[in-house]
């Protein structure tokens, strides 16, 4: 699977962080670190949501694996 962080993973981590902060079990230092991480995740998610529209790509199998190329047909009307 893909290495880079997904929206879904970010939200899962955010849920953990929110729970961690709310429980009050962590030290102040840890809490600050979590808060900082959470804010970064939110920023990441929001930047994802503001990303430009992606094109549709066509999956092709080659001898060395898979490649994707933009679809020729203008299917977005």
């Amino acid at each position: 699977m893909t290495q880079k962080q997904t929206f879904e993973q970010a939200l899962e981590r955010l849920e953990q962080i929110a729970k961690g902060l709310e429980s009050g079990d962590a030290s102040l230092d840890e809490s600050l670190k979590m808060y900082e991480e959470g804010m970064k995740l939110i920023e990441f998610c929001n930047s994802k949501l503001n990303e430009a529209q992606k094109t549709i790509r066509k999956l092709t199998k080659t001898s060395s694996g898979f490649t994707t190329e933009p679809l020729d047909e203008n299917i977005q009307d």
Partner: protein
């Protein structure tokens, strides 16, 4: 009149004999109309073609064995026997079995496959994989030129513009379509980067949609590691792939709505977390502030002062001790000194004289023996108080 005159009954009986004997069990093809499922379980219908029709009856014992539900307008092959109903003066076909003809046969195959796969457990809820909540990369298996891809792309990018769509183009009908779909499902799994797959096509006749009812396609869907949403045809169309897929969507557009979350909704989710984090942090800070306040007034926090006071006291004690020790030492030394002085005193000749002794000396030399003296010698006698001279009168 030598012509034979039949009674109605006799004529009908002869017709019955003639008909029923001339047409033993037979097959006839036609279209079902006026279909009635009687509460008794028997089925009555009319089989017709362009220019004729024949009444049909299927008794309950036979009707129960049908694996599909016949319907008006269905083209069927019917196996049965002709029977004349004397009381009504009519004849009808007593149906033993019905087989759909044309598309009807597909329908029948559909039912058969559905029954088989259901029995195998391929539709069981326990095998349904959950769809990802917020996919960013979705796979689509459909025709690159069909209505389905257009609908999915327009709905998908309207809801979440940065959604990545990977299309595995396939033929969705006709010869070889099923093989291409099976291949595409396997490729998508091998590729592995999409989080969910939409498999489907736009509406069409049952024949058009047939690839999605093929057993090979059903098994490929079942074997897929990536969750698959099946979206074949219109709302009313059900395909085998719908049953075996992890989710069914009534149309490709609906599939896109099911899979792709709305951007506004997602912004709501991130805002929700932002608020939760901020509130959590505020609460934490408040708690710490309260702790600090309570600490600063608590015994525990005053402890360092106590500690210092205790140390100061200790220093005082030590000082006292030291000074006490010093004076003690001085006293000791003084006593010592006095004793030594007394000892020294005891050795002082003056002190000896004090005890009543006297020192006799002749010409400055202390006389310790009479051998040092001659008669008439003048000696000096030193006493504790004063001194005098005397003349030796006798020597012993």
């Amino acid at each position: 009149m030598d012509q034979k005159i039949y009674t109605v009954s006799a004529l009908t009986r002869e017709v019955k004999e003639l008909l029923e004997m001339s047409f033993p069990r037979l097959w006839v093809e036609g279209e079902i109309s006026n279909l009635k499922f009687h509460s008794s379980g028997h089925i009555y219908f009319t089989l017709k073609d362009e220019s004729a029709q024949i009444a049909c009856a299927m008794w309950r014992s036979r009707a129960n064995q049908l694996i599909f539900r016949p319907g008006d307008g269905m083209q069927v092959l019917v196996e049965g026997e002709l029977q004349v109903y004397e009381r009504g003066g009519t004849y009808q076909l007593i149906v033993q079995q019905i087989q759909p003809a044309g598309v009807g046969a597909l329908q029948m195959a559909f039912e058969q496959l559905k029954k088989k796969l259901h029995a195998e457990g391929l539709f069981d809820e326990q095998y349904k994989k959950p769809l990802p909540l917020y996919p960013e990369k979705i796979g689509i298996i459909t025709s690159p030129t069909g209505a389905a891809i257009r609908d999915i792309v327009s709905v998908g990018s309207r809801r979440f513009p940065c959604i990545e769509i990977i299309l595995s183009p396939v033929r969705v009908q006709g010869e070889g379509a099923a093989e291409e779909i099976v291949h595409a499902i396997k490729n998508m799994n091998e590729y592995g980067e999409v989080e969910v797959i939409i498999l489907g096509r736009g509406g069409g006749s049952m024949e058009d949609l047939w690839a999605f009812n093929e057993e090979s396609v059903a098994r490929a869907i079942f074997d897929s590691e990536i969750p698959i949403v099946s979206a074949v045809g219109h709302e009313i169309d059900f395909s085998i792939s719908d049953f075996v897929a992890d989710r069914r969507a009534p149309t490709p557009s609906a599939a896109a709505e099911l899979v792709v979350k709305d951007r506004a909704e997602l912004l709501g989710v991130t805002n929700y977390y932002q608020e939760r984090l901020n509130n959590g942090m505020k609460k934490l800070i408040r708690e710490y502030q309260e702790k600090i306040t309570s600490y600063s007034s608590s015994y525990a926090f005053r402890k360092p002062e106590d500690f210092i006071f205790q140390k100061i006291q200790r220093v005082d004690d030590l000082q006292k001790f030291i000074s006490m020790s010093l004076s003690h030492l001085i006293k000791l030394k003084t006593q010592n000194l006095r004793r030594v002085k007394e000892q020294i005193n005891a050795l002082n000749p003056q002190a000896i004289l004090g005890r009543g002794y006297s020192i006799c000396s002749k010409e400055g030399e202390i006389v310790k023996s009479v051998d040092q003296l001659e008669l008439q010698d003048i000696v000096d006698i030193k006493l504790a108080q004063g001194q005098f001279s005397s003349q030796v009168k006798s020597l012993q």
